[in-house]
């Protein structure tokens, strides 16, 4: 690893994250030794899963970009596999789904190579048309429209949206030296804490339901409290980014709003399928898609705001 150094601010951020996790684990562990309750067991399980996720995020942020690209690509594969598993596809859709998986390495390679032109048309154009054509070739036309729509939707939701994170590795911004890692941890932290903020403000003040038929626990109070808290956090983490004060506040608000959007979008899909979680892959958290729901949408929004505010 010739000349590969990890920027100091990133080390501090992760020292903070792992320190926080260590303290949380210790508190829960001591409490459950004293008096084990089901809630404490659940919290311990969740914290244990967070250790793994935090380690994954640390690698994505601090290891060389190729490592992060492969990790995000694999996570994307798991998410797509999960969605294909629950969406009720027909037997005739199997070849199209098989084909869809191969879009992931191609899309992430394009993102890694910064081949922006092909990156933008590969899935919406090449994959959508070829999957539709494969579906036609199978000859079963019964509800083929649903399959055509769903295969490409799932691929867009996972591969197309998530691969925007990889683009952040190669942003060439004059005077900014923390690099892709800083941008990615900024995005991940804001998206993650936005969920937490919205949850806590909702618990604290929540009265007016925002989308009762989709997500009955979400309220206007939680939403508004959440996005402003996220904007506040964006200002606090500005040292990780090349943004001005105004720009980071706007990015924070946008991530707050769009994170909510991604969350309710996946909630609506789950409700349609009568599922509470997309899978039980991550103990205490549900499936990969349950965790990724917000960042799917915030990743491309963040990338485009970045190119808007910081023309390179």
């Amino acid at each position: 690893m010739n000349g590969y150094t990890i920027p100091t601010p990133l080390l501090w951020v992760f020292a903070g994250i792992f320190g926080f996790l260590a303290i949380t684990t210790l508190i829960f562990q001591v409490l459950s030794w004293k008096k084990p309750t089901p809630l404490l067991q659940e919290m311990l399980l969740r914290t244990r899963s967070w250790w793994f996720m935090a380690a994954g995020i640390a690698l994505v942020v601090m290891a060389p970009p190729i490592v992060g690209t492969i990790i995000i690509g694999y996570v994307c594969f798991v998410a797509l596999r999960e969605m294909f598993s629950i969406s009720g596809f027909r037997e005739a859709d199997r070849p199209a789904m098989f084909f869809a998986y191969f879009a992931i390495p191609v899309q992430f390679y394009l993102a890694y190579q910064q081949n922006l032109e092909v990156f933008y048309y590969f899935i919406p154009l090449v994959m959508s048309l070829s999957m539709a054509f494969i579906l036609v070739l199978t000859g079963s036309t019964e509800s083929i429209g649903r399959s055509m729509a769903l295969t490409i939707t799932m691929l867009l939701l996972t591969a197309y949206l998530l691969s925007h994170i990889v683009l952040l590795y190669n942003m060439d911004i004059p005077g900014y030296h923390i690099g892709g890692g800083g941008l990615i941890i900024f995005l991940v932290a804001l998206t993650g804490f936005n969920d937490v903020f919205q949850f806590f403000w909702g618990k604290l003040l929540g009265k007016h339901k925002i989308l009762p038929t989709v997500s009955p626990n979400k309220t206007w109070e939680g939403f508004i409290g959440g996005i402003f808290s996220t904007a506040g956090l964006a200002l606090g983490l500005r040292f990780l980014t090349p943004f001005s004060i105004e720009a980071s506040a706007i990015v924070g608000l946008a991530i707050g709003i769009m994170g909510f959007g991604g969350d309710v979008m996946i909630s609506a899909i789950k409700r349609d399928l009568r599922l509470k979680d997309t899978d039980d892959l991550i103990p205490g958290h549900g499936g990969a898609m349950d965790r990724l729901d917000s960042i799917l949408v915030t990743a491309p929004v963040f990338y485009h705001l970045l190119t808007f505010f910081i023309p390179s």
Binding site: R81, S85, E91, F98, R271, R274, D279, D280
Partner: protein, 215 residues
Amino acid sequence: MKHLFQHFFYTFFVRPWLRFIIGVRFENIEAFQKADQFIAVANHNSHFDTVSIMAALPNHKRAKTRAVAAADYFGKSNFTGLLMSLFFNSILIKRKREQGEVSAIDILDEHLKKGDSLILFPEGSRGRPGVISDFKKGIAILLQRNPNIPFIPVYLDGFGRVLPKDSFLILPLVCKVRFGNPAIAQRHDTDALLEEVKEAIFSLKNEDERDRNHF
């Protein structure tokens, strides 16, 4: 030599491939630790059923475990028969007996008497994805004749979509193998015993559906 090969093949290739690429989840894999000799009884939708159960076995038990397969399907050529024996320690039995031949049940019974464990699919055929068809009586007769050998019920979910009958395309999709704890059959009458085994598999199926957290 064969078992050493299986040991490495399953540990370093099959298991990681099933878990990380295909998306197989193993539940209560400890069930195999609790019985020395057993008959694993599973529902059957896919060739992957056998692969997954073999992969779930602890290495030292796999050497003594044999998957029961149809001779009329897998024994068509010597080559497939050899492969089946290499990967699954298979016993090939004929689904239809011709006159003068030793019955399939006697063959299996002999293996049990020698101390082998069996993997058995009492439906006899893979059928349509997600459908559990009627059980053949053989399993009940084997358990009757060997009252000290426990059966391990296995419920396989989703494998019919990963690799259904009549398909060659292996599609990664989330699927589950759920093992029940080894149980000594309590009933004596053949039909009642068959019902007992079937109930054990269906109760795993219900457990599986409850875990899925529907609204």
